[in-house]
């Protein structure tokens, strides 16, 4: 909402500057968004008088003027047809930036004559869209008067009103708070009632009290409508409203002045002798004043007469009964519409009119008759005529219940140390009344319904500056730190992955439903009803698509070599425990070719990073099973595995993304990826004792033996290793594959897996016979469990 200082001064006797008003508004809780100050913008422009204007020697359409300016007599070349001796106009000195033309004045010869400044049009000052010549001002103005003052331009303060303060949607309400804050004396003019001289011929019917519980009105006959006077037009224009005609302008003025929306009907066009506020009927529609026709439903409050619906109650009037310059009988509506229903009608119709905005927030229920009287006074002043009796139907909502209030609560809740007198005087200035220990909020404050609200009133008027900054009392601290094990894990994982060379990114929690479906998601319950974009309409089942698409975007920019990770939520349903945390990484290796020939299979680089990460977050990696079959369709078959702790407890998966999936996401391959489902990874038991088990070091040297096993091609090396390790749980300390071979010397359909086994003697050096016995057990176990034969 906007207002000007002069408007404010109608309600507030103050000498405060615009800056002081803005500061006081801010500290009272009104957020000033912008101050448009023509005085500042037009500071360089001043009033000047043309003393002499003669034809330019070299140009027919130019005149050389001698001008009295704030800088003395100046010779100025002017192209305006109205530049003539004696004209009082606006002068801009050299160096001035002209807002309308976007240029800065330089001393430059115009067809051989130097112009020492510029005489300006309204368009050049941006006070009008276009203009025919330079400004023509009152000759009584003194040379040197600032242009803004000469043109009657004022600073316009634009501010945001929080939804709890409908009273701030009128200048009078703002003045009240500023007066309470000490900025001046409140002087909102009282409205003397105008006695009616004839009965109102239009009856009011309220058949939907839940939508419109109260309605006041009056007819004024014999009015002469037409353009409103300059002061009114200027006032409306300053706050961004378009003057229409006196009757309509009066309603707009009161809307902004008192936060009291009104509507005026051309009474001659109202049929049936009544105006009814009721709910809409099926098939009804209203041709509204914005030129559009709106279908109304049974939940919409409409205004109707004998012809049917003629307006959207509290939102917008209709064209059939609108006031024009031909109007001679006007009916004034001052009603109260239910805020929630009005807000809903606003949403349904897409209309946010000044009336709708105010009714949706709650108009003062005691302002109905005063609104009619104020409008009457203005209409009689501007348009003449005589007024009927005021008609009133229904009853407006009452005030909120009185609040039991102990002034000591101010200190308890805010920390402010104020005297009781100060507290009562602030509340009194704001219109609150006191009876014993009870405080009654004024009718325009429906938001104040508890003692905390009263503390807020007192604190914001006393000033938040005055609040003490008091240190938070010491609280007992958790000895083991404040993070849960899970939170610590996430932090560890994040830093570990960054240390392993992955860049952390954050992608949207939502994706396209079709993309979600590619990764096993996309179910109905996770589809947004109102997505911000069609391709962000479904909660993601996995972070993978987001990261893969990120790889694609980077590749298209010429940076295909990506290692990205994200730790964030994935969604299996709309219940709280359907949300899980996934640690997801992708590796898209397209790095530079290497001179040392160390390029291996990147899948195993990724697997190494995954295993290291699982260790870092304390997963029981020793018991992990690597399960290769049954890859979901977004993984490339044969190059994917799940890591499981039991037959069903998958904690992670890794592999290469399926080429078809990559194609669907418009991303070049290969892309390797892993994901860890954090909640599935058991948390290590918290141990009360932090000492580690004693370190038992064998004095005996370990020894290694190599075995080349021939197994079926499909047999997993992991199975061979598991079999080997099982051969002797005491002596075998480790086993690792160091070569895998297929080709000549190994039968078709088989491969050779070379394993180095480390044997750690426990209490004595092993004899050759004992070593041979271990070897035999290893060969037997590998044969039994993995079908392995020793390579000949």
């Amino acid at each position: 909402m906007k207002f000007t200082l002069s408007w404010l001064r109608e309600h507030l006797d103050t000498q405060a500057s615009v800056a002081e008003v803005v500061a006081a508004m801010t500290m009272a809780g009104l957020e000033v968004e912008h101050v448009d100050d023509p005085g500042k913008k037009l500071a360089a422009f001043t009033v000047a008088r043309i003393i002499e204007a003669v034809q330019h020697p070299n140009a027919d359409r130019l005149r050389v003027c001698q001008v009295d300016t704030v800088d003395g007599r100046k010779e100025i070349v002017c192209g305006a047809p109205n530049a003539r001796a004696g004209l009082t106009t606006i002068y801009a000195p050299l160096g001035t930036f002209i807002p309308g033309s976007g240029i800065t004045l330089e001393p430059r010869a115009v067809r051989g004559v130097i112009s020492n400044g510029m005489l300006c049009s309204a368009a050049e000052l941006q006070t009008a869209e276009e203009s025919d010549g330079i400004l023509e001002l009152d000759g009584a103005l003194a040379v040197g008067v600032p242009a803004a003052e000469a043109l009657g331009l004022e600073a316009v303060i634009d501010f945001e009103v929080t939804p709890n303060r409908p009273d701030w949607l009128g200048v009078a309400g703002i003045a009240r708070d500023l007066a309470a804050a000490g900025l001046g004396r409140l002087r909102t003019p009282a409205v003397a009632p105008t006695p009616g001289v004839f009965p109102c011929p239009i009856a009011i019917l309220l058949t939907a009290p839940q939508a419109c519980p109260a309605f006041a009105g009056r007819l004024i006959r014999g009015v002469r409508n037409g353009p409103s006077p300059t002061w009114l037009q200027q006032r409306l224009k300053a706050v961004g409203l378009r003057p229409i005609n006196a009757l309509v302008d009066v309603t707009n003025l009161i809307t902004y002045d008192r936060a009291r929306p009104l509507h005026v009907y051309d009474a001659a066009t109202v049929t049936g002798g009544f105006i009814e506020a009721r709910l809409g009927r099926d098939g009804e529609s209203v041709a509204a004043l914005d030129g559009k026709t709106y279908a109304v439903g049974a939940e919409t409050c409409v205004i109707a007469d004998g012809s049917g619906a003629i307006g959207l109650g509290g939102v917008m009037g209709g064209t059939s009964t609108g006031c024009s310059e031909a109007t001679t009988e006007v009916f004034i509506e001052s009603a109260w519409f239910d805020p929630i229903r009005t807000a809903q009608t606003g949403r349904d119709t897409g209309i946010t009119s000044d009336a709708q905005y105010r009714f949706a927030r709650g108009v003062d229920p005691e302002s109905l008759v005063p609104g009619v009287e104020l409008a009457t006074r203005l209409i009689l002043d501007l348009c003449g005529g005589e007024a009927s009796d005021v008609v009133f139907a229904g009853s407006a909502p009452g005030r909120v219940a009185p609040i039991a209030f102990d002034p000591a609560y101010v200190r308890r809740l805010s920390g402010l140390d104020l005297t009781e007198d100060r507290i009562w005087s602030i509340l009194g200035d704001l219109g609150f009344t006191r009876e014993g220990g009870m405080v009654q909020a004024p009718s325009w404050r429906p938001d104040v319904d508890g003692k905390a609200d009263l503390v807020e009133e007192v604190a914001r008027i006393a000033g938040f500056d005055a609040l003490p900054a008091e240190p938070l009392p010491e609280a007992p601290r958790a000895i083991g730190g404040v993070l849960t094990a899970r939170q610590s894990r996430i932090r560890a994982a994040r830093r570990a992955l960054a240390a392993a060379g992955y860049q952390e990114t954050i992608t949207w929690s939502f994706t396209a439903r079709s993309t979600a479906a590619l990764f096993g998601g996309g179910e109905e319950s996770l589809v947004l009803a109102n997505p911000i974009a069609a391709d962000l309409d479904c909660m993601r089942p996995s972070v993978l698509p987001g990261l893969i698409e990120a790889v694609g975007r980077n590749a298209r920019r010429g940076f295909p070599d990506c290692a990205l990770f994200e730790i964030g939520p994935v969604f299996a349903g709309d219940q709280p425990d359907d949300q899980r945390t996934a640690i997801t990484a992708v590796l898209a290796p397209h790095g530079p070719r290497r001179w040392d020939g160390t390029d291996g299979d990147d899948l195993f680089d990724l697997k190494a990073d995954l295993l290291a990460l699982l260790d870092e977050v304390g997963a029981p990696t020793a018991n992990l099973q690597v399960v290769q079959d049954g890859a979901p369709p977004w993984w490339r078959p044969g190059r994917h595995a799940r890591l499981q702790l039991g037959p069903r407890a998958a904690i992670a998966a890794f592999g290469e993304i399926h080429p078809t999936t990559l194609k669907a996401l418009d991303t070049p391959g290969p892309v390797y990826a892993f994901e860890i489902w954090l909640e599935a990874v058991p948390e290590p038991k918290k141990r009360a004792v932090k000492t580690r088990p004693a370190l038992a070091l064998s004095p005996l040297m370990p020894l290694t033996r190599d075995f080349a096993f021939v197994v079926a091609k499909a047999t997993a090396a992991g199975d061979v290793i598991r079999a080997v390790l099982s051969a002797d749980r005491v002596l075998i300390a480790g086993a690792r594959v160091f070569d895998v071979y297929e080709g000549p010397g190994v039968d078709e359909g088989f491969k050779s897996v070379a394993v180095e086994v480390t044997v750690q003697p426990r209490d004595k050096t092993l004899t050759d016979a004992e070593i041979d016995a271990v070897s035999a057990r290893i060969i037997a176990a590998a044969g039994k469990s993995a079908g392995a034969k020793l390579r000949a």
Partner: protein, 372 residues
Amino acid sequence: MSDLQALEAETLGAVAAAGDEAALEAVRVAALGKKGSISALLATLGKMSPDERKTAGAAINALKDKVSEALGERRTMLKERALEARLASETVDVTLPVREAAIDTGRIHPISQVMDELTAIFADLGFSIAEGPDVESDDYNFTRLNFPEGHPAREMHDTFFFAPNEAGERKLLRTHTSPVQVRTMQKTNTPPGASWIAAGQTPPIRIISPGRTYRMDSDATHTPMFHQIEGLVIDRNIHMGHLKWTLDQFIARFFELESVVTRFRPHHFPFTEPSAEMDVQCDTSGGEVKIGQGTEWSEIVGCGMVHPNVLRNCGIDPDEWQGFAFGFGVDRLGRLKYGMPDLRDMFASDTRWLAHYGFSAFAAPNPASGLS
């Protein structure tokens, strides 16, 4: 004994002439081998008289020792020379490029970094961390937080909704992390299926709740998904002065500036009463934000005393307990501190942006070393 001298000269000459270990070994065998010249001489000792044997034996053994020593020295010398030759032949071009160190390419996203900074500050002030789900009920996101049904304040949240589910309930994406405050304050809140979701506590309460939040908005300073950290302190005698001190502390510690000027002014939120916002003084001329300078104000936090209705809605008696709540936009804070021009870039995954604005894995903020 000129024979012996000749043999010595000949053998030592051969040792010195041996060019490699194989040649030297041949010399050794020729002299000291089973059939070697010196071994042969030693074999003659047995046939000598004791006196003869005494003198000749000493001389031959002296010769043997001398030859052995010469052989050893020559062998060491040859080994060293061979090693030098081998090493010289294995010279590499050390100007060849290295494999880029992982620690140099890996990065922490600035939002995570800022979250860690905030956690460090608030952990030091005695706050613990509570979390909750992104998909929330209307009840937790609005109703219990004193947003009346149909109230314009709900509209201002630009909420993302899901279609009503089978039970007729319309879920939504939380517009703030305040539902976590509700979950924490509701002491009867039964622990949900997932253990990471905040369970109810009895006051006193001192938590922060970080996480993803969602509103339908997208421009340079708004993204449809963003991050918040909210704080909640409930105790018997916590008032607005404590809130002001906490925020002043936080802002000074976060921006690591002694001279941050803040402005605490009234505002309105349905869930707090009184409500406030805090601005920080800054200078935005020249396209970058400089905190602690200039004459402009940048809004940084919304806050207030928890509304008695909210306490009541969570089963807490507002006549016994009171406290404050506040909420920051983490992305905004990061932008103010580290100067990213456009918030949308935070979620664009451009590797160049991540490399530029990201943080090293080792740059973990902690109160001992400072945050950044």
